[in-house]
Amino acid sequence: MLARTFLKIFIFVLVVVGIYAYVGQLVPQFEEHPPKTRTITAETDRDELSDIGQELLRGKGGCLICHKDSETGNTRGPDLRQSAATAASRKPGLDAEAYLLESLREPGAFLVPGYPNMMPSALKPPANLTPAEIKAVVAYLQVLGGAESTAVVTVEDVEQSKRVAKGDHRGRTLMDQHGCTACHKVEDEGGEIAPDLTGAGARFEPDAILRKLNDPAAWTTPNFEEGLMPSFAEAPPGDLHEIVAYLSGLAGKSYNPTGAASPWSHEGVRLGLVIFIANGLMLVALAWARRRERREAAQ
């Protein structure tokens, strides 16, 4: 009887759930993917390269603050729609691609008549493009001018770009913010008072670097003064992890802030404490009840 009732109800549940699931299939179906982060590699094809170039030109590059690539726009700089077409004839000895590359890297090398020398190099802030990104912009400019793009990104460009981008590592910025670079040198920048940290990632495990940051007295590199380094235990842990990740990264080690340090590292103690107290309380209460029980039995 029980099993049959259960079966009947279960079939009823399945039918109701089935209807809901079916209706779920009737509404429009589409997947939404997170926005792609586009990276330029030597394999990036021509169309995509010029697409990325367009994005850079309109976005990160900030080119449209002075130039225009459509009917309307700013005219402080030359109209970019014409740039590729006239590029080949601008400077003797330079073809279109070479000229465009030069004008992005060293804008002052050749000035289009009628325009002042006011453009900063695209390699430097505010545009701060990488060599590979500059190639992408050139590819877009060529396409914009109605031609096939000839700009090709080489493995060398990509490598160079990576080196440039490294300066952007948050860990590096944080080292400036927390004052590390006042004493330490890292990647040829910084003070001389304390050891060069460029090779620290190779010499120490990430955990060790983190320990040193939290407790500078743990050890001191020979030939350097002891007790000089302040403790960073009060600094946000996220920042410290980021710095350790950066230093380890210089040595080619990938540091995942969680892989080494277990997420529950200190929680074990707390957990044990809570369990201990809860069990202890219960045992005390039980003992009290038993004693009272015995006393009652004795009476």
Binding site: M1, L2, T5, F6, K8, I9, F10, F12, V13, L14, V16, V17, G18, Y20, A21, V23, G24, Q25, V27, P28, Q29, F30, E31, E32, H33, P34, P35, R170, P236, P237, G238, D239, S254, N256, P257, T258, G259, A261, S262, P263, W264, E267, G268, R270, L271, V274, I277, A278, N279, L281, M282, L283, A285, L286, A289, R290, R292, E293, E296, A297
Partner: protein, 583 residues
């Protein structure tokens, strides 16, 4: 209880304490095991930002376990709330039946606690193993709340087991101590819920962290924009959900009953359970509006993505589910009137009520973005139907749902007075005022509904508040008159509990399934609108499963979770029944 272990010469207090200690020990061992497993796995597995579970996507694994944990947690947090209320009613009315009912509700809890804990621990291990980096980030932010959460778990377990095991001992003069235990259970339970909500809502509407994601204020992170609305929303939903599951249990027992006495008992339990479920369900949409408002407040983009963007289709599903709930609730009440002598006087109201409910449901479920073929679009002169378009907007839907709530309330009031005839001298006048209250509320709701088409949306949003207030006011007036009106009323005949068709019990099961599915769906929407973010706008989900899946796939997973939940619940029911047989 005292008859169960006659060989053990323990006093009731000692016995209750030792049973409770068993529960505490169980939870302790479970937590230690979780800790050891999590530690061992995160030490043993290679470092990674994300991991897969044996080929199953990390997101689906966490989703299923989290939702199941949430459902059981909702059950074990919701049931004590109305068990306590029922118990207090029993004390106040000196009606022994209420105390038995409250005991029956509580009996379902003991086993459900264990399952909740097991699911919670599994979830924790899954978080640590599948999302190590993000879990560590969250853990770092919310460190103090973790310790508090652990402490509260023990407090909750201790009081919940004591509440159950001292039921028979703490009767009569000692009843108030038992009620105090019940209050404690609910206090700790609510605190647990609030803490867990802080983590969840932080992910939706982060606050209290700087640009780099470092904590600046723990309190700001906890008390973020959506924290309180989710707390209230979940508290109400837990009661509704607990009531619906308890009613389904009663329906199951009714259908499997061997004699009339048992049938009568579980018929009554089913009725009370469904009453609690519907009662807690009625204010739920308002809590939902508040939550929606806070989401818009936090991020317009998130709000539009939820209501008007990709997720808008799921609200059509939600409308269908809620409309079905109203239908099922009314059908159950009307079927129940068949066992009340004298209720046939009110059968005539069923035709207009069904008409109103159906029309309300039609408006409520009319999609905003209509699926139409090219030629249909040309015929409509746009992607909006000139006539149906009027029903697609929020103004119409607010009106429809308020009218449906009012109708269901009226249905219930008719049920209440089924076998009673008011004898007070002012009966006719009282009834007239009641009718007037309902009519006035209906006029206000429909009036504002129509008028809101002529005002800008910023004003229109305010109107829904008036509509809600009108409905609530009408309910209060109606009940305030009803209680003295029916005082000492003449009874046409006693309610024949147990004499109800089996399909009424299926209506109760339907309520439970629909509530559960609705919860799964709403949970998905709440979590899904974060899209490819772990913490919205701050910490991106960089795993392969960061994409938003199709609605079809999502509903299939929700359906799977619901079926799994009911299988687990069935196991709990069987355990509860076995205990009963043993006794």
């Amino acid at each position: 209880m005292s008859a169960r272990w006659p060989e053990r010469p323990a006093t009731p207090t000692a016995r209750a304490l030792s049973q409770t200690y068993k529960g505490v020990l169980k939870v302790s061992l479970l937590l230690v095991a979780t800790y050891v497993v999590a530690q061992a796995l995160s030490g043993f597995l290679p470092a990674a930002g994300y991991r897969d579970l044996l080929g199953l996507s990390n997101r689906t694994a966490v989703w299923i376990v989290a939702e199941l944990h949430l459902m059981f947690a909702a059950f074990v947090l919701g049931v004590p709330i109305f068990a306590l209320i029922t118990e207090v009613v029993g004390v106040a009315t000196k009606d022994r039946r209420y105390d038995d009912l409250a005991r029956e509700f509580t009996k379902l809890l003991a086993m459900a606690y264990t399952l909740t804990a097991v699911l919670g621990c599994t979830l924790l291990v899954l978080f640590v193993v599948l999302y190590p980096k993000f879990t560590a980030y969250m853990h770092g932010l919310f460190k103090p709340t973790w310790a508090l959460y652990l402490t509260l778990i023990f407090a909750e377990v201790i009081f919940a087991y004591l509440y159950w095991y001292t039921w028979d001992h703490l009767q009569g003069a000692r009843k108030r101590w038992h009620i105090a235990l019940g209050v404690m259970v609910n206090l700790w339970g609510t605190a647990l819920l609030f803490i867990a909500d802080a983590w969840v809502t932080f992910m939706m509407s982060p606050a209290g962290i700087d640009e780099a994601g470092n904590l600046t204020s723990l309190w700001a992170a906890v008390a973020n924009l959506t924290w309180m609305p989710i707390n209230i929303h979940r508290l109400l939903a837990n009661v509704a959900f607990g009531g619906a599951i308890a009613a389904a249990y009663a329906a199951f027992r009714f259908l499997a009953a061997r004699d009339d006495a048992e049938r009568a008992r579980f018929d009554w339990m089913g009725y009370v359970g469904s009453f609690i479920a519907i009662g807690a369900f009625i204010p739920l949409p308002f809590a939902g509006y508040w939550l929606g408002r806070e989401i818009y407040q936090f991020s317009e983009q998130m709000g539009v993505s939820m209501m008007g963007g990709g997720f808008s289709w799921l609200w059509i599903l939600q409308a269908m589910l809620i409309g079905s709930l109203f239908f099922a609730a009314n059908v159950y009440l009307w079927l129940g009137m068949g066992r009340i002598p004298g209720a046939e006087r009110y059968t005539k109201f069923q035709v207009p009520m069904m008409l109103i409910l159906t029309l309300g449901f039609l408006v409520w479920a009319t999609p905003r973005s209509i699926i139409a073929t090219g030629s249909e679009m040309v015929a409509m002169g746009g992607s909006h139907h000139p006539f149906l378009g009027l029903f697609g907007v929020m103004a119409a839907k607010n009106t429809a749902v308020n009218v449906m709530i009012l109708t269901t309330f009226f249905s219930f009031m008719l049920y209440r007075r089924g076998n009673r005839v008011a004898v007070v001298p002012w009966a006719a006048a009282g009834k007239a005022v009641q009718a007037l209250a309902i009519a006035a509320a209906a006029v206000v709701v429909v009036g504002y509904g129509v008028y809101s088409y002529y005002v800008p949306s910023i004003v229109r949003i305010g109107y829904s508040v008036y509509q809600v207030t009108a409905v609530l006011a009408a309910m209060v007036v109606f009940v305030a008159i009803d209680i003295p009106l029916l005082k000492g009323a003449r009874e046409i005949g006693p309610i024949a509990w147990g004499r109800i068709p089996a399909r009424a019990q299926y209506a109760l099961v339907f309520l439970a399934v629909t509530f559960t599915w609705l919860m799964g769906l709403m949970g998905y929407i709440r979590s899904g609108i974060r899209q490819h973010w772990h913490v919205y706008g701050r910490v991106a989900d960089e795993s392969a499963n960061a994409y938003t899946m199709t609605h079809g796939d999502a509903t299939l997973i929700v359906s799977g979770i619901v079926v799994a939940f009911f299988l687990l619940v069935a196991a709990v029911f069987f355990m509860a029944m076995r205990e009963e047989r043993k006794a």
